[in-house]
């Protein structure tokens, strides 16, 4: 008789395989490095608390994690609305205490420029770009998560990239 019980997920492996994607997604959404750390911590805490409900046979861990991450980002912005009198320092990364080389510094500047250029996007464009380039999701996965068509996701991404290229000096 086949065993219908879901296999026990390896949380350490889920964490290692998805941390960077979840962090990049959250960072594109919230901008600030410290806020991204807070949100990502909440994402993985929730994931661990709900681990027993995750069945790997029903879908990849990434899709499950990103559902939690999207909810955590929404919670973050709700909380931020309550504390809107606090200074907004979004789009500024944690200062690099001692950049090891000019290359490191230029990478930091590049990341900052990318985040700043996303300020011209609306909420939906930003969400879709964050899922695509931060979370590493395909257009099809994004379409399924946001209940859009694949083609619509592709068009929105292209439109967002066109908006960004001016501030990134790529419009020549």
């Amino acid at each position: 008789m086949p065993d219908d019980r879901a296999p026990t997920p390896d949380f350490g492996r889920i964490y290692d395989e998805n941390f960077a994607k979840v962090y990049n997604y959250v960072r594109y959404r919230v901008g600030d490095a410290a806020a991204a750390d807070d949100v990502v911590a909440r994402v993985f805490e929730k994931a661990l608390a709900r681990l027993s409900g995750f069945d790997p046979r029903r879908g990849p861990a990434a899709a499950w994690l990103f559902a939690i991450a999207r909810s955590a980002v929404i919670d973050h912005f709700r909380a931020k609305a309550w504390f809107s009198w606090l200074p907004l320092d979004a789009f500024h990364g944690r200062p690099d205490p001692a950049p090891g080389s000019e290359e490191l510094l230029s990478k930091d500047e590049e990341r900052r420029a990318l985040l700043e250029s996303m300020a011209v996007l609306d909420e939906r464009e930003r969400e879709i770009l964050a899922l695509r380039f931060g979370g590493g999701m395909t257009n099809r996965e994004i379409a399924a998560a946001l209940e859009l068509s694949d083609a619509n996701v592709g068009v929105i991404i292209h439109r967002a990239l066109k908006k960004m290229k001016g501030s990134l000096g790529e419009d020549q």
Partner: protein
């Protein structure tokens, strides 16, 4: 299946080199090295006590908080009583310290404020409001020791010490 780093599913990118360049820059960017919690969060979440979450520590904190709240609110409730007597004065008219205040028999009804047993924290407390020259104070007893919670008018000079070089 389309790999996310293939950009073929984004229409017209081939005809728009500027947008294509932006997409490639976004694909190369990795912010996760800026995370200050990556290692510590992993260690915390995978620690044995975290992996098997228990409600016991949370329950302990809640019980302690409830006991502390009861302790703080009890004197406030007694503070509304009107049957207090005047604080006796010692030498030079200064009020006598709480530990030496004699209770007039029958003038003050001893009232049980709250009885809680949370481990060895709080057993019994009882008290009464006593007027002082500049306000009032509530005397209360905890585990056989008497304390005073005083309310009185004060001045900035009493609160902030002024120093001169």
């Amino acid at each position: 299946m389309t790999r996310y780093d293939d950009l073929g599913d984004i229409p017209s990118l081939a005809d728009d080199p500027g947008s294509l360049a932006v997409a490639r820059r976004l694909l190369r960017a990795d912010f996760s090295r800026e995370s200050a919690v990556r290692g510590s969060l992993r260690a915390r979440l995978l620690a044995p006590e975290t992996a098997a979450p228990s409600w016991a520590p949370i329950a302990r904190v809640l019980v302690s908080a409830a006991a502390a709240a009861a302790l703080l609110l009890a004197p406030l409730r007694l503070g509304r009583r009107d049957d207090a007597h005047v604080l006796p004065r010692g030498e030079r008219g200064l009020p006598v310290l709480p530990g030496s205040i004699p209770a007039r028999p029958g003038a003050v009804e001893e009232r049980l404020i709250v009885t809680k047993r949370v481990g060895a924290l709080i057993e019994t407390s009882a008290g009464r409001r006593v007027p002082t020259p500049r306000g009032s104070m509530i005397l209360w007893r905890l585990d056989g020791v008497e304390y005073a919670l005083e309310t009185r008018r004060t001045t900035l000079e009493e609160i902030f010490e002024k120093r001169a070089l």
